[in-house]
């Protein structure tokens, strides 16, 4: 099953490689991983999307907690949460396709960030499945390039990941 794990860790050189190394050393799957400093400069926050049986996910959270640089860990998918991913797509945009692409972008609440005489660069935010649907909707043969950030997640309401 797919899980989305959030963690706070020391904002220090090498902390990221400890987490990434743990996943590869123990054979855990990483679908995506995002990391950036938080409002508290000494901490970074990471969101990892992974999958595995309950036993594997339990081991992943325990092993993450064991890392000295990891301050706290939360399996967001255990409760109510929000997740978002940002995607930039460069498409071919010529002739009739220009109007059609503009319309699809509006329907998916995206924005066209850059226009050239034969391309659009579109920004889209949402869940991973929404981004996938957009790519399906515009048709894969128009796509020149995509870049995705991987999911960032946060708990709803009072669910918080703190020190």
């Amino acid at each position: 099953m797919r899980h989305i794990i959030s963690l706070l860790m020391e904002n220090e050189a090498g902390a990221l490689s400890r987490v990434a190394g743990l996943f590869s050393a123990r054979g855990y799957n990483i679908e995506s991983l995002t990391v950036a400093p938080t409002e508290e400069a000494t901490l970074s926050r990471m969101t990892i999307v992974t999958s595995g049986s309950d036993a594997v996910i339990e081991q992943i959270t325990k092993q993450l907690n064991k890392l000295i640089d990891v301050v706290s860990v939360m399996d967001l998918s255990e409760g109510e949460h929000i997740e978002r991913e940002l995607m930039l797509v460069k498409t071919r945009a010529e002739g009739d396709a220009r109007e059609e692409l503009k319309r699809m972008t509006d329907i998916f609440r995206g924005r066209i960030l850059d226009v050239s005489d034969h391309t659009y660069t579109i920004e889209l935010t949402g869940s991973g499945t929404k981004l996938d649907s957009f790519l399906d909707a515009i048709g894969r043969d128009l796509i020149l390039e995509t870049v995705r950030t991987g999911a960032s997640g946060i708990g709803r309401g009072n669910r918080m990941l703190k020190l």
Binding site: M9, S17, G21, Q59, Q63, I68
Partner: protein
Amino acid sequence: MELSGAEITIRCLQEEGVEFVFGYPGGAVLHIYDALFQQEKVKHILVRHEQAAVHAADGYARCSDKVGVVLVTSGPGITNAVTGIATAYMDSIPMVVISGQVPTHAIGEDAFQEVDSVGITRPCVKHNFLVKDVKDIAPTIKKAFYLAKSGRPGPVLVDIPKDISNQKCGFSYPESISIRAYHPQGEGDIEQVRKAAELLLEARRPMVYAGGGVVLSDSAAQLTELVRLTGFPCTNTLMGLGGYPSTDRQFVGMPGMHGTYEANMAMQHCDVLIAIGARFDDRVVGNVEHFAQNPRKIIHIDIDPSSIAKRVKVDVPIVGDLKLVLGQLLDVLRRSGRKTCDISDWWKQIGEWREFGGELRYRNSDEIIKPQFVIETLYKVTGGDAYVTSDVGQHQMWAAQYYKFNQPRRWINSGGLGTMGFGLPAAMGVQFMHPDATVACVTGEGSIQMNIQELSTCRQYRLPIKVLSLNNRYLGMVRQWQQFFHGNRFSESYMDALPDFVKLAEAYGHVGMLIEKPSDVEPAIREAFARKNDLVFMDFRTDPAENVYPMVPGGKGLSEVVLSEDL
């Protein structure tokens, strides 16, 4: 007054009460060696290979409650040390490794003797540090010692670039240190302890399964008290031997691949299993699906939450320091005023298994030396009172089976990583810790050659270790598996062109003995151990065809055991 980074490093070791540093000098640690030279409190032991420095520090830590300390240079110094560090990591041994690094401005430029030490050791240390500012040396070393010995112990690496060890700053050693994300558990959750006590009080077929955690946390006394109070059978893993007295009636032997029949059958058929500082590893429970076929309640006490429910499902997990949790459990059991159930039927069953399995046995011979006989004789001659280190292979299993350990920290072996070459340097560490004690290194002609150069270190420091080499001219455990599972195709497991070990020992300035007849075994061991001041290398020519039994083949269940060739 300002001190150099090198002087600060040594002052930190002094503050930690470090008596011995095991190491080998080189370019990147020259400042530190210079600081070492100019003081007397911390003694440096010069080994002949960095791997041996780590094993020696490891042996030193295993036979005491101290942190082993290692000092090596950058590049090949640290890469040679990696096997030793991984060995210590797998067995949770408290250790601080200080490595030199190329100067900070050269890092990343593929400088001479540069390697990414922090990167290369990351998967096999509890934590590691690269020091980038001379002011960070003291707090980093303080953290390293704290991390190494608290919680689940383990090796910690501190990598110090050469320019940092030469810069100066003021020195004060922090009295205490806190790491915000690191809070090892002390006592266990009392509700969980009560649940555990309830299960133990209701158990009809209970089993105590204790591992290396008991030794590491110095809770052998609490374990013994629990086993005596409850009257339950107890097994100690390879890492836990000596945690409960091996000659006691309630001890059923070691479990696992080469464990006793009764220990394995009791593990398989018990209704309540209490695991104490043990981790259900593949060499202990074999096939986990097979293990799960028999219903039983499992209580698991461990300092490391990630050890719990890693391979088997657990009913009552208790995270905490074993010594404290066992104290809580004993307290709850006593206060309950209740007695454990009558388990005489269970003991009767265990007795039957013991009889069927024939306990541990082998067919002795007048013609050829049986390796088990050597270990039995070693046990007899030393009165069970020696520190015994071992290498890895058949001799390790025979030593674990036939030497009866009644005290913790007497049996020193590489259980998790299974590192050949561990035995001799580990024995050096033990002898430094206990200069007057009897230290025996049980090895084979394969393993000993992986660190034989340390005979030179032993000579330099006059270490009177007794080396018992069970020389069967084969990599015995490999040969055994080839016999069982690979159609007797002994691929590369035969050792030709062995050295004359007697002459080799003599060349290093020691005493060598060749023992070829069973009748010479006991006199030779007596003579060797009577030489209090000499290292004696005993080359026993043992039966090349002997196998280790019982054996639970890899991937099989605990009750699918091969007892001997005849059965």
